[in-house]
């Protein structure tokens, strides 16, 4: 189902790939518009709208006041009337000032109307830490969004998926929360993994929502992860390959729908599971993945599974502390070695 217009070797960073999908959909459909704080001339704090203001102008790339409840709600109402708004919440951490519109309205109207009202809206938001932005600006929070029903939740890890998932999100008739990690955007002013700039198909590119990707095939252990942690997991897999350990990396790409089949078939092969999650450890994604495997067939696991996640603590500011809590190379490697021990 992944549609690609033409083979290409053109490389983009993730933010430009995301913006390219938006531009293509905006050209094709006058009902699409993008709205949020500093998305106009500034181009989005994390580059999500790079170049869009120049092409589409202030009537379709719209700067808002700092009134998230009002403008998220505005997006909902416009979507109810058949427009296809993309609304940016600058940081997912700010969900607390507008969560009611998101989870009680955007996510529930379709259901409460018995399917008679659609809310074809995309909520984009930046997530993640790693650059000392402190406890209120470094969270991923995807477990929270995914727990609350009625919205799809997508989490691209690389430029091509960022484009393809954005295309799907805009075309989806259901609300989609599109969470982009600052660390995958390939921003010039932030440390970046080499995978944040990569080949991106030109023309229409669609990645269906709800299908995980096997980011790397392997036979000894399955690492289930998403977003920036995919890059870290791939780096660790490179390292471990030198020791003859074959790591399979599953990039979930979306939490809702959650591709449990992809997880199960990988674990069926490897018998060992590590979940790497930059969200808080408890009551979230990592537990869900483990439970999904075990409730289907506990005999799939040949060893206790391991969760490598953000601990249940606010995220500290100081670099040494933040790097102690983030699920980075050493912790991932240790987790893998533990399940193989």
């Amino acid at each position: 189902m992944t549609t690609t217009a033409a083979p290409t070797t053109r490389r983009l960073n993730t933010s430009k790939a995301m913006a390219e999908a938006i531009a293509q959909e905006m050209r094709a459909n006058p009902e699409v518009f993008y709205m949020g704080e500093d998305v106009g001339p500034y181009g989005g704090i994390f580059g999500s709208t790079t170049g869009l203001f120049e092409e589409f102008g202030p009537s379709r790339i719209i700067d808002t006041p700092i009134s998230e409840t009002a403008f998220v709600g505005l997006g909902i109402g416009a979507a109810v009337e058949g427009m296809r708004p993309i609304v940016e919440l600058m940081f997912a951490d700010f969900m607390g000032v507008c969560l009611d519109q998101i989870y009680n309205h955007m996510a529930k109207i379709h259901f409460e109307s018995g399917g008679n009202v659609k809310v074809p809206m995309v909520l984009t938001t930046a997530v993640g830490g790693g650059y000392s932005d402190g406890a209120q600006h470094s969270q991923t929070l995807w477990g929270t969004f995914a727990h609350l029903p009625g919205m799809k939740v997508v989490v691209p890890s690389n430029p091509a998926d960022a484009k393809g998932l954005m295309t799907s999100a805009i075309r989806d008739d259901s609300p989609v929360v599109y969470m982009f990690h600052k660390g995958v955007m390939g921003l010039p002013w932030m440390a970046k993994n080499r995978r944040s700039v990569d080949v991106v198909p030109e023309g229409e590119h669609v990645v269906p929502i709800g299908r995980a990707a096997v980011a790397r095939e392997g036979t000894d252990v399955t690492v289930v992860t998403l977003s920036l942690s995919v890059h870290h997991a791939l780096d660790v897999a490179d390292t471990l390959a030198e020791d003859g350990i074959s790591v399979e990396v599953i990039d979930l790409r979306s939490l809702v729908p959650l591709d449990r089949e992809a997880v199960l078939s990988s674990v069926a092969k490897t018998g060992r599971l590590v979940v790497v999650d930059e969200d808080y450890l408890s009551f979230g994604l990592s537990g869900e993945i483990v439970a999904s495997v075990v409730e289907t067939d506990p005999s799939l696991l040949r060893a206790a599974p391991k969760r490598v996640a953000m601990p249940d603590s606010p995220i500290p500011y100081a670099h040494v502390l933040e790097y102690a809590v983030l699920p980075l190379h050493d912790r991932i490697e240790a987790g893998i070695r533990e399940v193989l021990a």
Binding site: S67, A70, F71, G77, D100, H110, S113, G115, D173
Partner: protein, 339 residues
């Protein structure tokens, strides 16, 4: 920018009779719902029991607001209402049968029984409501945005109670509508109570119309729960929104005849004994009669018509099938190919 409108008498008689008809229809409807709601809650009162389970917020006494405002709207305009939505729904022309079926939790309901009385969605007339205080305002902005963007003269009306005017969403919505000149009329129903909390303990100014100045938009307060005055004030505000002159705020003094929800004993409410005498419908009847616009026969005819429509809607609801429990989680996401 703040005006206080007091009752006028210059209104077209036909319009006044229409306002009367709307108010009677709403009241007849709510009294029938009241009857059905309590019919099967016993022994004692169990909120979860009966043909209509759950919370029930009736708007009896507040008909002048809905009738006076909605008289200026068509089904192309949007209305977002509150947890107390019936009067606006009916005045705006929501399908009475499917609305009733929804309240009875039936498959033929507006939301196929998924929504309930606080979550009525009728896209045919762009009507919606929400059980979260003041959170119906922001979506109305988006409807108005779409209407304006498409070059129409359609408008949105967003309703809250006076208690809700102290929520953040109220402020953000008024500011954004004012900034972007959106065609929205914000309506505050001041029934003086937010559940058990009197207006004086919730709202720091006597008139929400004064808050319009905080956004540079017109603010009007209508006293006396008078449908003619509401009609007049709303007419001008709706017209200016249609002309592209932007949003405005209309606060209407009104009356909650019943408890906040059914089951509310209202022990906190000292003025309760006086309330019945302030019922706006008999008062309007008296005024129309005095003005020679209403006689006994018309009155009876209006009442009979209302009763017939209401009882037909209730019969429709009762005759409708219950939803299939096996489909309880359908409609979480839009289905393939339904675009």
């Amino acid at each position: 920018m703040t005006t206080t409108v007091t009752p006028q008498q210059g209104l077209d008689p036909a319009v006044r009779l229409d306002l009367y008809r709307t108010m009677v229809l709403v009241r007849t409807y709510e009294m029938a719902i009241l009857r059905e709601y309590h019919a099967d809650k016993g022994p004692g009162f169990d909120i979860g029991k009966g043909l209509i389970p759950g919370e029930m917020h009736l708007a009896a006494g507040q008909e002048p607001v809905a009738a006076g405002v909605c008289a200026h709207l068509t089904g192309d305009d949007a209305v977002t209402a509150t947890h107390r939505p019936h009067h606006f729904a009916i005045a705006h022309g929501v399908d009475l049968e499917r609305m009733t079926a929804e309240i009875f939790g039936r498959e033929t309901g507006l939301g196929r029984g998924r929504g309930g009385h606080m979550h009525l969605f009728d896209p045919d007339v762009h009507f919606s409501c929400s059980g979260i205080i003041a959170e119906g305002y922001p979506p109305a902005l988006g409807q108005a945005f779409a209407f304006k963007r498409r070059g129409t003269d359609r408008i949105a009306v967003a309703v809250t109670g006076e208690g809700a005017s102290n929520q953040g969403a109220f402020h953000e919505s008024l500011n954004l509508a004012a900034l972007w000149d959106l065609p929205v009329v914000f309506v505050v129903e001041d029934n003086k109570w937010g559940i058990s909390v009197p207006r004086s303990a919730s709202t720091s100014v006597p008139s929400n119309a004064d808050r319009a100045a905080a956004y540079g938009i017109p603010g009007v307060r209508v006293e006396g729960n008078d449908v003619d005055a509401v009609h007049e004030a709303a007419g001008e505000l709706v017209a200016r929104a249609r002309r592209g002159e932007g949003p405005s705020l209309l606060e209407v003094e009104t009356l909650r005849l019943l408890g906040h929800f059914e089951g509310d004993a209202q022990g906190y409410r000292p003025e309760l004994a006086d309330v019945e005498g302030e019922d706006p419908i008999p008062r309007y009847e008296a005024r129309l009669t005095e003005a020679g616009l209403l006689d006994g026969a018309t009155r009876e005819q209006v009442a009979a018509e209302a009763t017939a429509r209401v009882e037909a809607a209730i019969a429709f609801a009762k005759d409708s099938p219950l939803p299939d429990p096996a489909q309880a989680t359908r409609y979480v996401f839009a289905e393939e190919g339904s675009r």
